[in-house]
Subunit: 226 residues, 2 copies
């Protein structure tokens, strides 16, 4: 109650299963008295490409463009493009970040990866010696909620689904100091019965009811690779 949640959502179709998971989350969290903000990336036509356009005004080094350096410098002088500033404001205010997306190639869709690449710049999300447990986005929680095309069994035959969470959970969120809650995976919603799909939606609502009591995972290699 009173908590702020940012849901970064990456699906093109409101009628999709991801769309339903988003709707449910907004409803349940709002009912709890949370303030929920949604970044609907496709609807916003969010730009995923990291380019010179992200810097307003002069470059620090116009002879040789380096994105990391330029966005860091631009951040410090308040010279990042408007869309990035807005997303950073949402992140700054949030107690919990939920990423809702369909798994594309063992990872996020490019539009969501672009959100990570462009929003979490040096100076804002981390700094020279401020990373991992010292990252700049401490006291925040994150949760990766995604659907897969393949079944749970199919993933299990080729290793663990946790393997693919390493770059996202550890490499991004943990690096910025954000704590990570257990991921929420809905396996192959397209290939199960309508009844099973309803069960999956109910399970998501149920989980969200006690989300604020959850303990973050221990985001170290042991959790991922045992």
């Amino acid at each position: 109650p009173g908590k702020k949640v940012l849901i970064v959502y990456a699906h093109q179709e409101p009628k999709s299963f991801n769309g339903s998971l988003l709707k449910i989350a907004v409803e349940e969290l709002t009912k709890q008295g949370c303030r929920v903000t949604v970044s609907d990336l496709y609807a916003m036509q969010f730009e995923p490409r990291a380019t010179r356009n992200d810097i307003v005004g002069h470059l620090h080094n116009s002879e040789e463009f380096n994105y990391a350096t330029e966005t860091w410098e631009a951040y410090k002088r308040g010279g990042l493009s408007k869309d990035l500033v807005e997303e950073q404001k949402k992140v700054q205010e949030a107690d919990l970040l939920i990423f809702q997306f369909p798994l594309f190639w063992f990872s996020m869709p490019a539009i969501l990866k672009g959100w990570m690449d462009r929003v979490l710049v040096q100076g804002f999300a981390y700094d020279l010696s401020k990373s991992y447990d010292g990252g700049l986005l401490q006291d925040k929680l994150s949760l990766f909620s995604f659907t897969t095309g393949g079944t749970k069994e199919k993933y299990a035959t080729r290793g663990d689904v946790r393997y693919l969470l390493w770059p996202m959970q550890h490499g991004i969120m943990h690096f910025c100091g954000v704590k990570v809650l257990e991921p929420h995976v809905c396996y192959a919603p397209k290939h199960v019965s309508e009844e099973k799909r309803k069960e999956m939606l109910t399970a998501w609502t149920q989980r969200l009811k006690t989300i604020w009591k959850e303990e973050p995972i221990n985001c170290s290699p042991e959790w991922y690779f045992k």
Copy 2:
């Protein structure tokens, strides 16, 4: 000699270290008599977002947009957008795919992830029961060549760099039936001496001289997680 190579390149700045690695690869492979094609994603302003625009003409199901289904159907009837058809042609012709990029957040920059998301559609790169060793892009090799911001030591303290290669090498290339050569990692070129940088460039040329004699890795969990 006579081999065809596609280099998919994702850096904004030709003068960058990635730009040098690209230049060197084009020179060395051309010298060997290979036919080299480069997809310079930023220069092409390559679109990373997976949207309805990738399908020319009518949708299979316009009531509820599903990207995977629509691109699959569009591929079968020759209805994918021109930029995708062109990239697929390049992939089809290539014996070796080299991905050259700076590591962004333990993964590819969004513009390159978008290339994977949009180019490697069902029907073209894989199909219902045609994946992994049965994938549709067999008899091809791939190589991930990237630079990092952090030093080798920094990566080593938090697990192995191989962990982050799982989604890219196994989840994408292996899934499509493409064999994977050892990755080529240049650690922290921004933070080493000019001499060390030159050594790294020379090492890349040297490696490419015998690239056609290399054996692919065994792309199973053991390689990544021991």
